[in-house]
């Protein structure tokens, strides 16, 4: 199956080349696209040197817009499956390959890589979040589960695999502000099969998390509003293509 792996990257010059090499090694059959989200460093050059196709957004637009670019490319170029992972080295490509297996087997339309191997806990063997993060994780878990009536553990995971139905939907409707959570809600509302697969994640190789406590609080607040509004959005069943 023709597969596209895309990597949204914003100022990740230190890690992007390694991630590309890892993806090449772990998912040899897939095409690669790096979406440079208006980086001010040499992310785009490093990615090109590493042999990846690079789509450079002219200015920073946020993760949602970058991911949507990838879905749009996958849809237009006729890829049957696509997957994306973060450019900071947190996501081992071998795990992404496991997500893709679910798509190839048509067991789900959208597969999320969850860092929590034990679904009941907000931490795992290789992931120990700070208090503010843990609160946010718990809040989002609770409300997303409430909204979708489906159990999600890693609501903000940036490691996903998808088929054409999801490409068609996300390339048209993808919130630029709150991509991860709203997209899950949207997918479930539209009747797509969303599945979570426990994966192993690593410490970030480069860059730093954008979350400070104040930002976390704002992030949570905004997320809740987005979820609430999302519950009242009209459904577009039939708009997705097979």
């Amino acid at each position: 199956m023709r597969t596209l792996v895309f990597i949204p990257a914003w100022n990740e010059e230190d890690s992007v080349a390694d991630v590309i090499a890892d993806v090449r090694a772990s998912i040899p059959g897939a095409d690669l696209l790096v979406i440079d989200d208006g980086s001010v460093d040499a992310t785009d050059e490093r990615a090109r040197e590493a042999g990846a196709l690079v789509a450079s957004l002219p200015f920073n637009q946020g993760l949602g817009a970058a991911l949507q670019t990838g879905y749009l490319h996958a849809l237009r170029e006729g890829y049957e499956a696509c997957a994306h992972l973060d450019a900071d080295g947190q996501h081992p490509p071998a795990e992404v390959a496991r997500l893709l297996e679910e798509i190839y087997a048509d067991r789900a339309d959208l597969v999320i890589g969850s860092r929590y191997r034990d679904p009941g806990k907000a931490e795992s063997d290789d992931y120990k979040p700070t208090i503010s993060r843990r609160i946010g994780i718990g809040v989002f878990r609770f409300f997303l589960t409430l909204a979708t009536r489906q159990r999600f553990t890693d609501t903000t995971s940036g490691m996903r695999a998808a088929n054409r139905r999801v490409m068609a939907m996300f390339s048209e409707r993808y919130s630029p502000d709150f991509a991860e959570i709203e997209s899950l809600q949207l997918a479930v509302r539209e009747g797509l099969r969303v599945e979570e697969v426990p994966v192993r994640m690593l410490e970030r190789a480069g860059g730093s998390s954008f979350l400070t406590p104040v930002r976390s609080a704002f992030f949570i607040f905004k997320g809740l509003i987005v979820l609430l509004v999302g519950q009242f959005r009209p459904r577009h069943v039939g708009a997705s293509e097979r």
């Binding site: 023709r2 059959g29 095409d31 690669l32 696209l33 979406i35 440079d36 090109r48 042999g51 196709l53 690079v54 789509a55 450079s56 957004l57 002219p58 200015f59 637009q61 817009a65 949507q68 670019t69 749009l72 490319h73 237009r76 630029p176």
Partner: protein, 143 residues
């Protein structure tokens, strides 16, 4: 705006001196002239100007026929004409601000899509020119 200021200084019954009415009318006309000038200099698109013209006309009418305001206030069931005027103007501005947010959101979406199209176009160029583009790689894989 001038009507608003004038009316605020009045007692509930509208009594405008001819002097204040003239000032109000001049301000209203100046405002409409400003809108016209902005259109003429391509600083304002016609489709955004309609609402401002209506506002200017409203100001002019208010200056010409101050009695109208008490009629409107009566129709609203408000004893104080000032309160009626403030409510109307406030609601008008609120609606306008919301309208701008809607317009901005639509344009933000359009700008994002434009940026995405441009980025993908550049990627396609890279694919067709470079040896390590995805097309070449795909062919290697299939053969």
């Amino acid at each position: 705006m001038s009507v608003l200021v004038l009316a605020a200084s009045q007692s509930p019954k509208v009594h405008l001196t001819s002097q204040t009415r003239i000032i109000a009318a001049i301000l209203a006309l100046a405002f409409m002239a400003l809108v016209l000038e902005l259109i003429r200099r391509n600083r304002l698109q016609e489709r955004f100007s309609v609402v401002w013209f209506v506002a200017g006309l409203g100001m002019l009418i208010g200056a010409a026929f101050p009695g109208l305001l008490s009629l409107v206030a009566d129709a609203m069931g408000v004893r104080d004409t000032n309160v009626a005027l403030f409510s109307i103007v406030l609601l008008f501005l609120l609606g306008l601000a919301l309208n701008f947010s809607v317009t901005m959101s639509r344009q933000a979406t359009q700008i994002t899509r434009l940026a995405q199209e441009q980025a993908l176009e550049k990627a396609r160029e890279q694919a067709s020119s470079g040896e390590n583009g995805s097309e070449a790689k795909r062919e290697r894989l299939q053969s």
